[in-house]
Amino acid sequence: MNFSEVFKQSNHLCKVSPDGKYLATCVQYRLVVRDLSTLQILQLYTCLDQVSHMEWSSDSLFILCAMYKRGLVQVWSLEQPDWHCKIDEGSIGLVSSRWSPDGRHILNTTEFHLRITVWSLCTKAVSYIKYPKACQKGIDFSRDGCYMALAERRDCKDYVSIFVCDDWHLLRHFETETQDLAGLEWSPNGCVLAVWDSCLEYKVLLYSLDGRLLSTYCAYEWSLGVKSVSWSPSSQFLAIGSYDEKVRILNHITWKKIIQFEHPATIDNTKAIVYKEVDRRPAVVSDELSLHNITMGSTLFSTQSKYEICPLPVQIPVVKPEPDRANPKIGVSVLAFSSDSRYLATKNDNMATAVWVWDMQKMSLDTVLEHTSAVRCVMWDPRRPRLALCTGNSKLYLWSPGGCVSVQVPAEGSFQVQSLKWHCSGDSVILLGKDQLCLCYMDTDYEEK
């Protein structure tokens, strides 16, 4: 495993192009594009203000930089560095900006979700979509880029509009049976749209592409409901994480529950392996602490850690949520399927230090990774069943069915991994610190071991 040197970045704005060749990072108002193989700077663009959002187009030719405060969007071309495009939303404001799947349209959401403006880079045409709903995930493109589903709110009722992304033709428009729609997500094959209600009600609705209601699922009533929803890459399973600390898996034929995964505080499932991160502070004798170690600085304060297999049963630390606060820190908030749909990683918010990995073939708990601090980010390798996670310290944690490992990031000073992103080939991981980033290259023979 190798690590690159540390680069600057701001706002965690760092993205690899979809073709995996370039790395774009934002440093304040500058946009830096590097070649990923050499890490040499290819292009340097200067935006008008501090960039708050950055995104590659699907064909890796353009980069969108949004400055929400100024209501501006700037688009840069990689092929023609002198080509430029600036979109000014004016006084109506801007809260979100994104590419359409074809990479030739930009969808800007105005302040107060008044409307969505669709700007075409081909024809300079503008079109508006009215009544978009301000919610958790109100807009979703199908995986093939053909359709866009948009949650709308009109006359105190929830609607879903399905657009054809080609020419923004409204294909379907239907009312959903939700009190307060919270999000929608296309199945990876693009034929089923999962729609879920806000947390006040447990309700998941499944619509076909043509707007027919396929099924409704409700596990319980009254108490807080759905927290997260995720499709398996094979479209075979729909995982629903809820506030009752359970994950329910629906099948794709009858849309009934296959199984529910619970997150108990005591793990006594003998088939599961529990890896616990154990700190090993370097033993320092008091007289040795003097000059010698202080000069070494970073090594003194960094702690060694490793995973140890815990004998069952294992007690996982649970933080009780405050009952009088809104959005209680409880329930399953992270659901991530591995690329081969074989494993599901979950995180329960009141056990923030633990990541649970479930085997979808055996439909059982496979591994629990317990850490010394709360898990910040969990990501699957886009190619292999390999999980990378970080807990906001200077270590990178990796899990694969063969075992798990924690790696110290060998950067100068304190490099605290806040977030991470896999390269699309799965050969490297981008580690994002507070205002720095670092590339971690996986050994290619790591797999064979």
């Binding site: 000014d88 006084s91 008044l114 403006t117 081909c122 024809t123 503008v126 105190c156 033709h169």
Partner: protein, 668 residues
């Protein structure tokens, strides 16, 4: 009556105490005369008698009367008319009778008394128990009242709780209604707010659109082509229709794929079903034949066959076109099969239960033996563990200290403690000898220094001599080596470790020096055995080349022929080496054993090395052993004897020295 009482005063106690006797007292009094007869006789003179001389006949008649009353037929008759004397026989008879009666009465009385006592005690007992029961009754009554009280209280509580529940329920209902009303109110308000917000948004957007001062604008250098390279089309009905069709196409495609998957799965399941059916039939058919009688078997066979046919038909149908009817038939047949299977399994269970019971009786003994066996095995395992532990400890010791290593080796091997001690003693002796040697060595070194000075004086003479012989000189390297070995020989006596070192050194440079040395040797007039030579002879390598062997043999021969000292020394060294080797051997053996504990002995190379070691040991064992003291004395003697011949002490005559210092070269 009063008189009777006076005479029978002792009888009064029981009379008074017993109430029951009161009723029969008259009869008692009737008895008394007979009873008190002897008494009255004794007090005859004292008390005014019943019968006097005057009233004999009256008394007789009276007595007769009394006797008649008592039921005694015999009567007392006066022997004479005057009645002064009585007829003795009847009187005696009556007396006897009376006595008998009295005795009987006494017995009865005693019994009665006993009975009375018993009754009294029982009465007492009953009274006590009665009182106890009364107490109990009272207690239970009290308890009962207490329970009544608690029951009442509980009922009261229940009543209050029920009322509470009612109120709670009412409250809950009220609250629910409140919540519902609030929810509706909230949703209404929310809707109102939302509408307002929507209105505001509308207005805002309108205002923003109206305000033209800051235009929302796109500023593109030049517009781009579409990513797919096509040109955009006008929005027409045709286009929308095409969109629709496309959508349906994707949907249809999805359904198609899912249908295909389902069909595949279905086929698989059907296959499995078929197989299951077949196997079921296969299982059921022969069993039924065997279990049921011949006629029943035929029936079942037929049934099975018919089922089979049916199943075959249904399956075929199902495969051809999975219509409702076929499915039903399939289900029915499966159900039938299933029922049969269940019955069969139940039957089997019963049979197996019976069988098990039978078996269990039989298998009691084997089970015990099994347990015994297990116990034995466990013990064995325990023993093995202990053994391994002990071995490990020994190994540990061996690793810790060399001494322990030696002892452990000795312990492990067949060498006894005695031998070990003997060796130790010898070692001590050897150590002393060593000290002596060292002293002598010092002397020798001093002498050597002296000699060196003398040598220096000879140098000039030598130079001249060397000049003459320079052209015949041996090769450079050989000379060199000889000089080095010469240097070694200067230190004639060495301590044990040094000996080892030197031997090791010599081992390294052995073969060349040896050959070179052996060639000039015959030319020398007087062969001087130096210590290095001795050492060389003593290097007993089992795997030496044959030439070396022969050389060694020669050397040994010569040394034995010439003098016994090398032999002694060889013995010494051999022993030292032997010990060293032994240690090594033990170590290796131990290591081997350890390995065998952990892994299996594998290679045959081990065997060969072992064989070699054994050979070596045998050879070493065959060497004649001499005590160190003897050896040392001999050695000393040898040294002193040969001191004259030692070139270091006497100097080498220039004519015999084949090696000259190089210095001469510079002169040429």
């Amino acid at each position: 009556m009063g008189e009777w009482r006076a005479t029978n005063a002792y009888m009064e106690g029981p009379e008074i105490s017993s109430i029951s006797h009161v009723t029969i007292s008259p009869s008692r009094h009737n008895h008394v005369p007979g009873y008190s007869f002897p008494l009255s006789r004794s007090s005859y003179s004292v008390i005014s008698a019943f019968c006097t001389e005057d009233n004999v006949p009256q008394s007789i008649s009276y007595l007769n009367q009394e006797l008649a009353v008592l039921g005694l037929s015999m009567c007392i008759e006066a022997s004479s008319a005057e009645g002064a004397s009585l007829k003795a026989v009847p009187v005696l008879n009556t007396m006897y009778e009376l006595l008998q009666i009295n005795k009987r009465n006494m017995c009865a009385l005693e019994e009665m008394e006993k009975e009375q006592l018993k009754k009294l005690s029982t009465l007492e007992h009953i009274q006590i128990s009665n009182s106890r029961l009364k107490d109990q009754l009272e207690l239970s009554m009290r308890e009962k009242s207490g329970l009544h009280e608690t029951e009442r209280q509980l009922q009261l509580k229940i009543k209050t709780l029920q009322s509470c529940l009612k109120t709670e329920k009412e409250e809950v209902q009220k609250l629910q209604s409140i919540i519902a009303s609030r929810a509706s109110q909230y949703s209404h308000d929310a809707k109102r707010k939302e509408r307002e917000a929507a209105k505001l948004k509308e207005r805002l957007s309108q205002l923003l659109v109206d305000r033209k001062e800051r235009k929302l604008a796109i500023d593109v250098l030049n517009s781009l082509g579409r990513s797919d390279g096509k040109r955009s089309m006008w929005k027409t009905a045709k286009l929308s229709a095409s969109h629709e069709s496309e959508m349906y196409k994707t949907l249809l495609g999805d359904y198609e794929t899912s249908r295909k998957a389902l069909i595949l799965e279905n086929a698989e399941l059907k296959k499995v079903l078929q197989q299951m059916k077949k196997e079921m039939m296969h299982i059921l058919a022969p069993r039924q034949q065997s279990t049921s009688g011949a006629t029943a078997a035929d029936d079942s066979q037929e049934q099975v066959e018919s089922d089979e046919e049916k199943a075959g038909n249904t399956s075929r149908e199902a495969f051809d076109h999975s219509c409702e009817l076929a499915r039903e038939q399939l289900l029915n047949s499966i159900r039938q099969q299933w029922r049969k299977l269940r019955n069969h399994v139940e039957k089997l269970d019963q049979v197996s239960q019976v069988h098990n019971q039978m078996e269990s009786n039989k298998e009691t003994i084997p089970l015990e033996t099994h347990e015994d066996e297990m116990e034995r095995m466990r013990q064995e395992v325990q023993q093995c563990r202990e053994f391994i532990h002990a071995q490990q400890q020994l190994l540990q010791q061996q690793l810790n200290t060399s001494f322990d290593d030696e002892t452990a080796a000795l312990l492990n091997d067949c060498y006894t403690l005695e031998e070990k001690e003997r060796l130790k003693e010898e070692w001590k002796l050897f150590e002393e000898q060593k000290k002596n040697f060292e002293k002598e060595r010092k002397n020798f070194t001093e002498a050597a220094i002296r000699l060196g000075r003398e040598k220096m004086s000879f140098e000039e003479d030598r130079a001249a001599w060397l000049k003459n012989h320079f052209l015949n000189a041996t090769p450079f390297a050989n000379r060199r080596r000889y000089s080095s070995s010469d240097g070694q020989s200067a230190l004639s006596v060495r301590s044990e470790p040094e000996v080892r070192m030197s031997s090791a050194k010599a081992k390294r440079s052995k073969s060349p020096t040896y050959t070179t040395f052996s060639t000039p040797k015959p030319s020398r007039s007087s062969p001087v055995p130096s210590t290095t030579e001795l050492y060389r002879t003593l290097r007993l390598l089992p795997d030496g080349s044959c030439s070396k062997h022969s050389n060694r043999g020669r050397w040994l021969e010569t040394s034995t022929v010439e003098e016994g000292h090398p032999q002694i020394k060889s013995n010494l060294q051999a022993r030292a080496e032997h010990r060293r080797r032994k240690n090594r051997y033990y170590r290796s053996a131990l290591g081997k054993r350890k390995r065998t504990n952990t892994q299996r002995m594998s290679s045959s190379s081990n065997l060969t090395t072992m064989k070699k070691a054994v050979q070596q040991l045998r050879f070493e064992a065959s060497i004649n052993r001499v005590k160190v003291s003897q050896a040392a004395v001999d050695l000393q003697q040898f040294c002193l004897q040969n001191a004259l011949q030692d070139p270091l002490l006497t100097g080498v005559s220039s004519s015999t020295n084949p090696f000259r210092p190089q210095k001469v070269c510079s002169f040429l």
